[in-house]
Structure formats: C-alpha cells, structure tokens
C-alpha cells in the first residue's frame, strides 16, 4: 500500500478529508496516556522533551510516568546540525505517518492516508500563509480544532519580519554543493556527525528553509514560554511541525533527482551513527530500528510524493538521473583563510568583530594557491562560519552585516538561525555543551570586497546582532572564512 503525500493546497478544498482525518487522529492521540508509544506527547518527545517545561505547561501531568530507561532510549533523538538530519527526520515522519495512518484506517478512514505537505515555496500567492486548517479555532463540525491548539508566535505567514529580515528560499536546492560538507564549508545534508541531537554545523537544507520556518512560526521568543516551533523540545507537539517536515523531506527527495546532485551513500552514513541507533515505535506498539540507507529512494522508508518540481527549485523532478556518490565531498580541500581572534558576546547591542586574513594567504594572486589548498583547480568558493555559538535561549537568530574594515556601508547581510541553541549549550546535557555552527557561502561578497584577489583588503568586519530583542546573550567562539577550490 502506497501512501501518496500531497500538497495541502492542492487537495481541492479547505478541510479536505485528508486534513480532517489528520485532525481527528491528533485529537485521539492526544487522549492516549503518555506511556503509550502512539500517544501524541510520546511521538513528540522522540524529537525533543523538556520534562519540567512540559509539566509546567500542562502538556503531560507526570513526565516521570514513562520509565527512565525508555526515556533514555526513545526521547530526545532528533538529529540536527549534521549529515543525519534528512534521513532521521524521514524515518521519524514515516513512523509517525504509519501510526496515524493505522489509527485512521481502524476508525473509518482511508487505508492509504498520507501526511500532506505544506508547499510554502511554491509560486502560489498564498503559499506562505499558514494553512487555514491550522489557524481556525473550530473544525467544520464546530468542535475545537486540535490543529490550531499549539503555542505559536503571532505570524500567520512565513516571510521576513522586522526581527528576521531574511526570507526562506530555495537557494540550497540549486546550489553547487554535494550532500556532505567538508568542515568549514556548506553541504546539502550537513557535515559528518555522530549520533548527536545537536552536532556541529547545519547543512544547507536544515539552515534554510528548515530553521527559518521553525522560528518564523514559533515567533520572536521574548514571550516565555516560547512558541513551540521555536524550541526542538516542544516543536513536534505542534501539528504543523509534521506538515513542515513533510515538505522538508520532499525538498530532499526532489534534490536527489537533480542530475548534478551527489547524495551520500557511504557505509559511514548509510549504516547510521555507531553506537547509537535510530529507534522508532511501530504500529504494533513495539520498537524498530532503521538506518539512513533505509530512507533512500527504492528502500523501505522511501516516501512517495505527488509532485517533486513545484516549489522545490528542481526543474525536472521525479525521474531524473540521480548520481549516487560514495563518501565524497567534492572539489579540493578547504582551508582556513581568515578569522577573528577572540570569543565575542552578543547581548542587547550589536558587536563588530574584525576578521584578519591569514598573512600568508594574501601573498599570492589566488587565494586557493596562497592557502595551500590542494586539489581542484577551478574557482575558489568561500564560506563564512559563525562557530561555537552558545546561549540559553531555545533558539537564536543572529543578523550579520559584512563590511570592509573601517567602512559603514554594508557589503552583505545574512541572517543565521540557531535552532536548538540551548540544547547544544547545556554542558551536562546530551550535547556536551559544544554549541552550534552556522555556515553561509560568501564567495560573491568577498570577491566584490577584493579579498579573493588579495589586493588591499587584509580582512573584513562582521557585525553580529541578535534578532530577538531582550534575548539572553550568546557567545560566539570565533568567526572564520574557509576557502575551498571547486
């Protein structure tokens, strides 16, 4: 039986049967005890779980009712900031869909029910609007609407806001990047990581649109508590989380059909993180494991979408050639070329930090030659890294302004979203306190500034400002530029 996932906007009507059944299932699963592996809070806790906060918000009356051993095995599994982000969320979504689909089938609904996706990057004018079914206070029958029962920010549509000026985009879908990132550069799926809820650096898909959608819906986090989508420990409680991740998953599926795209398939990726396992509840109430390889096209957990081209940035979807790369990251070896020299703390005010070009890097006409980067031979691509960001907010948004040193005019602006910041900062938590790193490509910007020609400009200035007014301060270990020959 194939579950065909469809665009919620193409179902023909508001409150289409697929969405009505979703709402009924959400309501029913919310009524199950927390100890049930099919219950709404249990399924959400697999992504992230904050026992004290959940109790305080009345999400579960007693967080300890699930045995500690089960909690350690099943909860707080979500994979972020690493190359397991796409496959783990695919398996999670698959398991969720099977459990809801099972309930729906046994309660009079279609046996082949599938999770709809929110195609927020399609060209349709209303694509950015949060679907009405997730806003309306009541369902068509007048009963309270479980899909709108979630703590969210004020925005009813995705897009730039005063506090987050950058938009969601499909840039990553057509960027010339491979799946696995070399350290210091940007990959589609992310850098190599072990089993970690918050690894090192975000991949391109996770950075934008994934992280942006989370904070745009969760909202400016000065209210306490924050909107659920703003915090990975609450995000999956919001029914819209699943629509969002269905689209993220579809973007990955579409990307893999791109003729020039190289999907990671090495055993190191395909077999998953050793020694941990990705474990999900199944429809029988038992537990089952899966590996990233199980999520590739043609494998047991591969999904089926009605369309892979609309709103994906991929011109020819669903059948194009797929190049499968085994363990490669493409191009030459990246090298550090510029860095600031101190940890900065960003509180209420913006902080300007100077990046100094490595002295020897500036001695040759080509940055690639000067840095001793090997391999490749084509153009050099440059990446800005904001590394080791730590803070106590559930997430953070940093707005960057890039300038020539000593100048006021801004050469480029970038917004970076650090989804799950507090989790990654907790020293004795599951993440070791390493913080998060975000990476953006700045090849064009630094070329315009003259750095790539090593003429005149010995560095650049990066101004870092917190987007959320009143947010707890964040520290940044360092800001760097890495150059990689293509």
């Amino acid at each position: 039986m194939t579950r065909l996932r469809k665009d919620i906007a193409s179902l023909g009507q508001v409150w289409a049967p697929e969405v009505l059944w979703y709402a009924r299932a959400v309501e029913a699963l919310r009524g199950l005890p927390f100890t049930s592996r099919a219950s709404w809070p249990y399924l959400a806790a697999i992504h992230g779980f904050d026992p004290a906060g959940w109790k305080a918000q009345g999400i579960v009356p007693d967080p300890t009712i699930v045995p500690d051993r089960e909690q350690r095995l099943m909860f707080n599994q979500c994979q972020h900031a690493g190359w397991f982000f796409p496959p783990w969320h695919r398996g999670y979504l698959w398991a969720f869909e099977e459990i809801l689909g099972g309930w729906i089938a046994t309660n009079g609904g279609p046996a082949d029910w599938a999770m709809p996706y929110w195609n927020y990057l399609s060209s349709a004018p209303s694509s950015r609007d949060i679907p009405r079914e997730f806003i309306d206070p009541t369902m068509p029958d007048g009963k309270p609407n479980p899909l709108s029962k979630a703590l969210r920010g004020p925005a009813h549509a995705l897009g730039p806001q005063t506090w987050i000026p950058q938009d969601i985009s499909l840039a990553v879908q057509t960027a010339e990047i491979v799946y696995t990132a070399d350290p210091g550069t940007l990959g589609y799926g992310g850098p190599i990581s072990g089993f970690t809820q918050q690894g090192n650096a975000f991949g391109g898909l996770e950075s934008n649109p994934h992280n942006f959608v989370h904070v745009m819906i969760g909202g400016d986090a000065t209210p306490n508590p924050a909107g659920w989508m703003y915090d990975p420990n609450y995000a999956a409680l919001d029914p819209i989380f699943w629509l969002h991740h269905c689209n993220i998953d579809r973007l990955w599926e579409a990307w893999m059909t791109g003729a020039s795209h190289q999907q990671e398939t090495s055993p190191a990726w395909g077999n998953g993180p050793f020694p941990q396992r990705f474990t999900m509840p199944d429809v029988t109430g038992g537990l089952a494991v899966f590996t990233p390889a199980d999520t590739l096209p043609g494998r047991p957990l591969a999904p089926t979408y009605d369309d892979l081209s609309k709103g994906t940035g991929i011109a020819v979807g669903g059948g194009g050639a797929m190049i499968m790369n085994v363990g490669g990251t493409g191009g030459g070896t990246p090298a550090l070329v510029a860095s600031n020299d101190e940890t900065i703390t960003v509180g209420e005010s913006a902080v300007r930090s100077q990046l100094t070009l490595d002295a020897q890097a500036g001695n040759a006409g080509s940055l690639a030659m000067a840095t001793g980067a090997v391999g490749g031979g084509g153009p050099v691509r440059v990446y800005l890294n904001v590394e080791g960001v730590r803070g106590m907010s559930p997430s953070a948004v940093l707005n960057l302004s890039i300038r020539k040193p000593g100048e006021d005019s801004v050469a480029a602006k970038k917004s970076l979203v650090f989804f799950g910041l507090a989790n990654a900062t907790a020293r004795d938590g599951p993440h070791g306190g390493g913080g998060l790193t975000a990476t953006v490509e700045v090849t064009d910007e630094v070329r315009d500034l003259g750095i790539l020609d090593a003429t005149g400009v010995a560095g650049l200035e990066v101004e870092v400002e917190q987007a959320v007014s009143g947010a707890a301060s964040v520290t940044v270990d360092r800001i760097t530029l890495y150059a990689k020959p293509s």
Partner: protein
C-alpha cells in the same frame, strides 16, 4: 559495525591506531636494547619484578626510566581516544600549522597524564606483585564501578566538548596545547583505574592493555548524557551489539 569501521577510516584513527601500535612496538625494541622494561616490557612478570628489586637494592632505580615507560604506555593506550579532538584541531588551524598543532595537542595530552603516573606507577607495581586471579577480578570490578559513577559521566561529557582554537599564529599552537590539556584532565578522571588493570594480569599485561584500550575507546563513543549512576557505556555498547531488534518498514 560496518558504519563504525567506515567512520574510523575517515577519521584521524587511520593514523592514530598505527601510531599507537608503533609506540607499543617501540617498547619491545627498547626492551631488547636496554634491558627489561619495567612497565610494559616483554619479560615475564617475575623477571621484571626481580630486576626491579635488584635495581632498588643497588639504589639504581631510575625514575626517568619509569617515566619513559609510563609515557610509552600512556601514549600507546590513549592515542586512539584523541581522534575527535585531533580532527577538531586539524580543522581549526591553517594547513601549514596543522601537523604542529596536532603534535603539540597530543604532547600536552600525554604530559598531563604524567602527573597521575607518579601515583599510578607505584600502585601498579604493588598490585602486580600481589596479583592473583581473584585480585584481578576485584580490580576490574573497582574500575567498572568507578566508570558507572556520575562523576565519570561528567568527565566523559567534558571530553565531548569542543574548545575555541584560534586559526593562525603562535596562539593557534598554544590553544591546541591548551585543548590537549583540557581533554586530558577528564580523561585521567575517567580512565585512571583502567590504567592499573593491566598490572593485574602479570605476564598477560600486554593483551590486557589492548583490551583496556578497546574498552576505553568504546566508552568514548557514547554521546554525552546526564550524569547519573549508569552501566558503563562500553558495556551498553557490547550489550547492544548482541541485540537484534526488528527493522522499521520491513515485514
């Protein structure tokens, strides 16, 4: 397991493990050239302890010799555990400083381990002289209980934590050394009883060293978690390896 092997081949382990083996082999060469190595030589336990007694009676016991032996033993056992940290150092600095940064990082790491050696070497020699099978089992039990403590879990968490390392100049090398020392301290906290365990195995101390090194490596693989009394991660991993769970999506 295939995934683990693949990741190992992609990491600094591909040169750390051979280096560790080479250091261990070097102790054998020293054995043949300068006489019995006290700690890790290939001579039998009886012969080594007799030699130790001879040196002591003659007032010839050379602390530098013991220090060198301890350094070799520590380096051989600990190098594979530094893989993630070495990768971090390599990534953080400019390419021309990479080798020096890693070398200084490892040097600082091993240097920190010399301090507890002042206590652990005499302790090891004493337990070796007293070793019986029952004593060995008790020693392993003590090490396992220590590994199960919340303190040791806190130490493991610290070892998973990254540190800011500047990218170029002398400060990059200093930061790499500082990171090495910062990694070694929690390593000492978590591993010190295990460094005594090989002494409990007499003539089998070399295989015991290898097994302890593998155990400690597995212990390091588990991601950070909340400090609490717990089954040591290495045992959890071994138990998990025997488990055959069902596969999602397969009938």
């Amino acid at each position: 397991m295939r995934g683990l092997i693949a990741v190992c081949l992609m990491s600094p382990l591909r040169w750390l493990v051979p280096s560790s083996a080479a250091i261990s082999g070097a102790s054998l060469l020293l054995q043949s050239s300068i006489g019995p190595i006290v700690l890790c030589g290939s001579a039998s336990t009886t012969a080594r302890l007799e030699q130790l007694q001879v040196w002591t009676n003659a007032g010839l016991l050379d602390p530098w010799r013991l220090l060198a032996d301890w350094t070799l033993m520590t380096a051989a056992m600990m190098l594979p555990l530094t893989s993630s940290a070495c990768a971090r150092v390599a990534h953080a600095v400019v390419p021309r400083l990479r080798n020096w940064a890693i070398l200084l990082h490892l040097a600082a790491y091993v240097l920190v381990w010399l301090v507890p050696g002042l206590l652990l070497v005499p302790l090891g020699l004493v337990v070796e002289a007293s070793a019986t099978p029952g004593f060995a089992a008790a020693g392993i039990a003590v090490a396992l209980v220590w590994s199960a403590t919340p303190l040791v879990q806190s130490a493991r968490n610290v070892m998973h934590r990254s540190s800011s390392i500047r990218g170029f100049g002398g400060v990059a090398l200093l930061d790499s050394m500082r990171f090495g020392a910062a990694q070694a301290v929690p390593c000492v906290v978590s591993c010190w009883p295990w460094m005594v365990v090989p002494f409990l195995f007499g003539d089998m101390h070399r295989p015991a060293m290898v097994l302890v090194a593998v155990y400690l490596f597995l212990d390091r693989m588990e991601p950070p978690s909340k400090p609490r009394w717990r089954l040591p991660p290495a045992l959890v991993i071994l138990a998990r390896a025997l488990d055959k769970p069902s596969r999602l999506g397969r009938a």
